[in-house]
Amino acid sequence: MAKITSLNDLRKIKDDLQEKIRLRENAESPESMAQIKVGMATSGIASGAKEIFNFLVEELDKRNVSAVVTQTGDMGYSYAEPTIEVTLPGQDPVVFGYVTVDKADEIIEKYIRNGELIEGIIPANYKTIDD
């Protein structure tokens, strides 16, 4: 490691390094950003939930969108797997079904970034996964 020779240098290094702990920093205040849960029960995994999970984590990071992505067990919508639940700060959770990579892309760009409602939402007598 070369010596750090100015405050600006230090700031630059910090900015580069920060990415490595962003996941941890986001987890500190999950309520202030989008929280995404990917259903990962057996049926979810079989239908490609893993791929969606990886896509979300990597793309959100690349596109600099703050969000906390976790997996969860069965969401109770096995007919619509893969499913993901998105909770925007201060809003009720919304569940999307039959999520493909394209759909996930749309969810990031439209719903998470701009709060626009898009197709694919599983409506109704909703109960959250953790209740």
Partner: protein
């Protein structure tokens, strides 16, 4: 670069290491490799989470799942269930002592909800052996700001304005102390970090040094800049091997990055730090004794003035601060004095770290805003008293402090309130006592410690404390008189007024505060020869419960003084006058027929 989906934080503090957190790390890494998850899961060894009693702790991020008492054998299940299948391993979750529910994540644990972490902000969050992680959390940014954008006086003014007071016990305003040291001209000055931590049961300074050593190094350098010192010394007890190891690594890394050494961050400021080891005497934590000990002299206090700021290490101006005091400094410069002073009470700003111990459910290390009440600390964060027993008292300030009771539970904790109630902040030890604790014995315990630790230089402390101890001992044996109680009080006041250093001046506090708050309990020992808490065995009698006794004669045959009589198959009887209270009979009785009352 891999984008990790999970970070597994494993506590590498002294407590968790003792229960094999290293083994957990090895097993987790092995599992991760076997399952081909190296690019998905990152394992990070951190400092203490403060929840040591339930360690080893493994925390899974981003979902903040908090696993307790994990063993290396649990690694496979954590990876298979949590990471691969997204299901929490229920049996490893923390169980709320009141509701007996499993709590899924640390955000919902009462232990963490009321805490604000300033000094501990990186403990349990970063890898303390990795400077990059520290930098990503702003390490050395405050030093950079001070060196390039602020004059020494501006830094001092900011610290003064923040209201930061010394966390080592005295609560002296830190900015003011720095100013004194900066005004004293000399060719050489020193910054000293006091990491002696002698209070029994305290481990806040150790945890900071183990979990975030760079913050202390950075703050020492900032202090050096304000006073014009280029040398820092950390006085640390040799019984803290892990803290010492992490400090050494941190100092080496900081030097390598040019954050310690010459021309720091391209300025003309030079600063370097060395470690000095203490043998672990309580009195060596007192700043004049500490300085003498570093000079190779006997670790005995000397009269102040002169204060270290005038004539300290090698007779040069020296600024001594506690570890936790230093750990608060960088954040103050980055977030501003106004931010810091918005937390806390009128005269005590910011937060304080406490080590909770004794009869409390959540034993551990916590950091709360000044002004938090004892009730919040003990019942909300601490989870209440163990085994549903009744709260009796809490000792703050260690051997220098006093006990507080039920009527103090709603007192906001800060430097001045604790003193007004006859105790003190001290370094932050908090020992909780329940109905089974005898307050005379508690006072005796602390006096025993003080007598052991007194350096013997002055008479009031050397002889006076010994007398206090003897009187307390007499009372716990049922041989005390009312006159003894008067003597306790008078002698305590004399010692307080005449002892040379803080050790002697505060050592009678446990006696005075228990006399004040538990006078009836003292009187019961003296006049009724009874210990209401049932803790002083000398005041207890062994008694045979007639209904339970089957007359097996086992006790009578075992009694060394033959004071148990009774016909075979008939209830037995103990001759109390002859009984020497050895307890043998109670051990021998298989019918629960012998009680201690």
């Amino acid at each position: 670069m891999a984008t990790f989906k999970y970070h597994l934080l494993i506590c590498g503090g002294t407590g968790c290491k003792a229960s094999d957190s290293d083994g957990i790390i090895t097993s987790l890494n092995k599992e991760i490799k076997e399952k081909g998850l190296e690019n998905d899961v990152k394992v990070v060894t951190t400092g203490c989470f403060g929840f040591c009693e339930k360690g080893p702790i493994v925390k899974v991020l981003p979902d903040n799942t908090f696993y307790t008492q994990v063993t290396p054998g649990d690694a496979a299940e954590i990876i298979q269930e949590h990471i691969i299948k997204g299901r929490k391993v229920e049996r490893l979750l923390y169980t709320d002592p009141e509701t007996e529910n499993h709590i899924a994540d640390s955000k919902h644990m009462g232990f963490y909800q009321k805490q604000i972490r300033i000094a501990l902000r990186n403990c349990g969050f970063i890898d303390p052996e990795n400077l990059d992680e520290a930098i990503s959390r702003d390490a050395y940014m405050a030093l950079g700001k001070a060196l390039t954008e602020m004059t020494p006086q501006e830094v001092i003014d900011e610290i003064k304005k923040s209201g930061l007071r010394g966390r080592g016990g005295g609560g002296f305003p830190t900015g003011l102390k720095w100013e004194f040291a900066s005004k004293n001209e000399a060719d050489q000055k020193y910054v000293v970090c006091n990491a002696d931590e002698g209070d029994p049961g305290a481990f806040m300074d150790r945890s900071i040094l183990e979990g975030d050593p760079h913050t202390v190094l950075e703050a020492m350098a900032i202090c050096g800049y304000t006073m014009g010192a280029d040398k820092g010394l950390i006085y640390i007890r040799a019984e803290y091997p892990l803290a010492i190891k992490r400090l050494k690594i941190a100092i080496d890394q900081a030097r390598e990055y040019g954050l310690l050494g010459k021309n720091i961050l391209g300025t003309d400021f030079n600063f370097d730090i060395e470690l000095r080891y203490g043998a672990g005497a309580f009195v060596c934590g007192e700043e004049t004794a500490l300085i003498h000990s570093m000079e190779g002299e006997r670790g005995e206090p000397t009269f102040k003035p002169p204060f270290p700021a005038e004539s300290g290490y090698n007779g040069k101006p020296t600024n001594v601060n506690n570890v936790e005091t230093f750990a608060s400094v960088p954040v103050i410069l980055l977030k501003g004095a106004d931010w810091f002073s918005s937390i806390g009470t009128e005269k005590s700003k910011g937060t304080k770290v406490f080590a909770l111990a004794g009869k409390i459910n959540n034993v551990g290390l916590i950091e709360v805003p000044m002004g938090t009440t004892l009730r919040e600390v003990i019942f909300e964060i601490g989870g209440g008293i163990k085994d549903g027993k009744k709260f009796k008292a809490v000792q703050t300030g260690g051997p220098s402090g006093g006990c507080l009771t039920e009527k103090h539970l709603d007192t906001p904790i800060d430097f001045d309130n604790l003193i007004a109630e006859g105790s003190m902040m001290g370094s932050g030890g908090m020992i909780v006592m329940d109905e089974d604790d005898c307050m005379v014995s508690v006072a005796k315990f602390y006096l025993d410690f003080t007598v052991e630790e007194s350096c013997g230089k002055c008479t009031p402390c050397r002889i006076g404390n010994k007398r206090l101890y003897e009187i307390l001992d007499k009372i716990t044996k049922g041989e005390g008189t009312m006159e003894d109680l008067d003597n306790l009080k008078n002698l305590s006041n004399v010692i307080k007024d005449t002892a040379l250093c803080g050790l002697g001046q505060t050592s009678p506090n446990p006696v005075l505060s228990t006399l004040d708050n538990f006078w009836d309990e003292y009187v019961a020992h003296v006049t009724d020869k009874k210990c209401p808490a049932g803790a002083c065995t000398d005041l207890m009698n062994y008694n045979i419960i007639e209904e339970n006794c089957v007359g097996c004669t086992a006790c009578a045959r075992a009694c060394p003084v033959n004071c148990i009589t009774g016909e075979r198959k008939m209830p037995h009887h103990i001759d109390q006058a002859a009984c020497i209270k050895c307890g043998t009979c109670m051990e021998k009785c298989k019918f629960n027929a012998i009680e201690l009352i």
